[in-house]
């Protein structure tokens, strides 16, 4: 795989400095990768993620942080080295299936999912006479095992979407979709001050706070899941959700009161039914509807409807 980005001089220098060390650390000889090939791979990876203005020191730090052994293994597999494939299969075959089983929750679906990934990893499609292996896109920023799980998860999401578009008429009938009323024309907001105050409150949140809120209230994730996604303790997330909900409510109320509403009016406005609020169709359509993902709908309904 060659990068479309130009490899800067500082990256070249850093790669040249570290090549011997990283080549040995990555056990490249064992999987059949020459120094030259590995240097090209390192240069491509660094050029992909580092800004053009990055200095040699930054490039060195970046290269040292890579998981070079797994990078070498993946790229050697992509290049079709048999030894590399033997190592890969020994290390990851069982894990890949278990990860697929955890995602798909059903044995045959899991095998199907894992098999489809194997096909992509091996590279069944051809471009300019070369096999295109998905492993050629692994860059060693994280673990190869984690990368494989992420690829599996994305494939599962894609499959879910594809099958969702092909729902049978019977299933639609069971869901009541055939008899669904046409979407009503969006109503104007009862009070634009509420929207403004809410948007201001949400805009004031940090990305992590917003992610936590969205994961908990929109996606229906458990505290434990969010904690694992962020690599913190569950109780930290519990405290954060509680604190965020309280502070957000306070901010919105204060904002509305600041705009001339009485406290009672502001609190009444906060209780506005979602159906009365104008819906931004364009923006909503940029994402899957809230109820349409994989999360447990029931749990979310219970939580939001509380």
């Amino acid at each position: 795989m060659s990068s479309t980005k130009t490899i800067s001089d500082s990256i070249h220098l850093a790669v040249a400095d570290l090549l011997g060390e990283l080549h040995a650390k990555g056990e490249c000889e064992k999987v059949g990768l020459s120094s030259e090939t590995f240097a090209a791979i390192l240069g491509d990876v660094a050029a992909k993620y580092l800004p053009a203005s990055a200095g040699k020191g930054e490039a060195r730090t970046f290269l040292i942080s890579l998981r070079v052994e797994e990078l070498a293994l993946a790229r050697a597999c992509a290049a079709g080295h048999n030894t590399a494939w033997e190592i890969f299969l020994t290390r990851y075959r069982e894990k890949l299936y278990l990860a697929a089983l955890r995602i798909a929750r059903e044995d045959s679906a899991a095998r199907d999912l894992a098999d489809s990934l194997y096909a992509e990893l091996y590279g069944t499609s051809m471009r300019a006479g070369d096999r295109m292996s998905k492993l050629a896109s692994f860059t060693g920023r994280g673990s190869l095992e984690g990368w494989l799980r992420t690829v599996l998860a994305q494939e599962f999401v894609n499959r879910y979407r594809r099958t969702k578009r092909l729902v049978s008429l019977d299933e639609e009938g069971e869901d009541g979709a055939q008899f669904a009323a046409p979407e009503p024309e969006p109503l104007p907001s009862p009070d634009s001050r509420l929207e403004f105050a809410t948007d201001a409150g949400l805009a004031g949140l940090s990305a992590e706070d917003r992610m936590v809120l969205a994961s908990y209230y929109l996606d229906g994730r458990t505290l434990a899941e969010i904690a694992r996604m962020l690599g913190v303790h569950e109780s930290t997330i519990s405290r954060k959700v509680d604190k965020l909900a309280k502070s957000l409510r306070k901010k919105i109320l204060a904002h509305m009161i600041g705009q001339g509403m009485t406290r009672r009016q502001a609190e009444e406005a906060l209780k506005t039914d979602v159906r009365d609020v104008r819906i931004d169709i364009r923006r909503s359509l940029t994402q899957e509807p809230v109820g349409g993902t994989f999360s447990n709908k029931k749990a979310r309904e219970i939580r939001i409807g509380k």
Partner: protein, 395 residues
């Protein structure tokens, strides 16, 4: 748990932007594994906060069990240690552990002697099992409802409870499929928790945790027998637990959770000293002085079970668990390895060409049971590719 108004949730949903592109798989993986720099992590976080697709992929891609538990710096004080973390209490735990080990040794010695002189080995073993079922209270510790106690977010967990049973069953099924607890012996072996201090100091009530005497082995097999007649140390639900989550608290205590992190119990590794220990460079005991205090050591060795003995006062900095395999490292290069989910431990002393590890172990990372790395306060990195039998010091 505080709820937010419906209106806020609807606004939270509708502010999803038009995405140019999603972070690639490598960035999502590195984000999940916390290996991105501040700037990159911030940018990915900005995206994930607004993109439910990527949040979905991240959540689906979470490992079955955490590969490496969060390491809490001892100076952070983020987890309140409470009176459990007091030095006096730690010494009390250590003293109790020593007392139990001595009792275990005496009882085991008695059993071995009677077993050797009996005409029928089977009868003797049965008698010994009954005797060994007598429990010895060793620790009065907080939390009478450790399996159900949640320090915070109780309401939230109740709200999300529809997911929990299904997940628990799936987790256990997965564990069984991996052979972690499918056999009776390994499940029952959980009863042999050496010393467990439930809770993390946030609880007010008390519980008596009991430890059992070691159980004799099948003659000739060298494998300890665990009679199903032995009363359970805890509830039946605990017997089904498998693949705990691991962490190190602010006091440097090793902790594990069997309920996805809702409640934690402190584990003090009880070292296992095989009769004829041989594990490559892995050192079975911390020192010869420890071995000398072991009464059963003089007995015929070949068919007898391993003997638990308390480890020295330990302060851990890092732990890594993969299924039933657990590695924990800490002050003075202490590294312990358990292959059964933390019930039995072997001290491992990494060395390479006669050179030993120096400094405190600050990081332990295993990708699988065979391949792992440890890093030390003296900037050393040691790696193994054969399950800690041999180590290589990286230059």
């Amino acid at each position: 748990m505080e709820s937010v108004p419906k209106f806020v949730v609807s606004r939270l949903q509708r502010t999803a932007p038009d995405f140019g592109s999603h972070p690639d798989f490598d960035l999502l993986t590195a984000f999940s594994e916390r290996s991105l720099g501040e700037g990159e992590r911030g940018r990915v976080m900005e995206h994930i906060a607004l993109c439910n697709d990527c949040r979905e992929v991240l959540a689906l891609a979470l490992p079955e069990e955490e590969l490496s538990a969060a390491v809490v710096p001892s100076s952070s004080g983020r987890i309140p240690a409470g009176w459990v973390g007091l030095p006096a209490f730690r010494w009390a735990v250590l003293t109790a552990a020593v007392a139990v080990a001595a009792l275990v040794g005496v009882r085991y010695s008695h059993f071995s002697h009677s077993n050797a002189t009996a005409e029928s080995g089977a009868i003797q073993r049965n008698a010994a099992r009954q005797e060994s079922a007598v429990t010895t209270p060793i620790i009065v510790s907080p939390n009478s409802q450790s399996s159900s106690s949640v320090t915070e977010g109780t309401e939230a967990e109740v709200q999300s409870s529809p997911k929990s049973p299904e997940r628990e069953v799936r987790r256990q099924q997965a564990a069984v499929s991996k052979g972690l607890s499918s056999d009776g012996s390994s499940v029952i072996a959980m009863n042999r928790n050496p010393i467990i201090v439930p809770g993390s100091g946030n609880n007010s009530d008390f519980d008596v945790v009991k430890a059992k005497d070691p159980v004799p082995s099948e003659a000739g097999s060298g494998i300890p027998i665990f009679s199903p007649n032995i009363p359970l140390q805890t509830s039946p639900a605990m017997m089904l637990r498998a693949s705990p989550k691991w962490t190190v608290n602010a006091s440097g205590n090793l902790q594990r959770s069997f309920d996805g992190g809702k409640s934690w119990e402190t584990v003090v590794p009880m070292q296992i000293v095989p009769r004829q220990a041989s594990m490559g460079s892995a050192s079975p005991a911390s020192g010869s002085a420890d071995n000398s205090s072991e009464p059963a050591k003089s007995e015929p060795a070949s068919t007898e079970p391993v003997v638990s003995k308390p480890a020295e006062s330990l302060v851990f900095h890092a732990v890594c668990g993969i299924g039933s395999e657990v590695w924990a490292g800490g002050v003075a290069g202490v590294l312990y390895h358990s292959t059964d989910g933390g019930h039995e431990w072997i001290r491992v002393t990494p060395s390479d060409k006669g050179v030993g590890l120096t400094g405190d172990i600050n990081g332990v990372e295993f990708l699988d049971p065979q391949h792992g790395k440890i890093s030390t306060s003296s900037a050393e990195v040691w790696s193994t590719s054969d399950g800690a039998h041999s180590w290589q010091k990286q230059q």
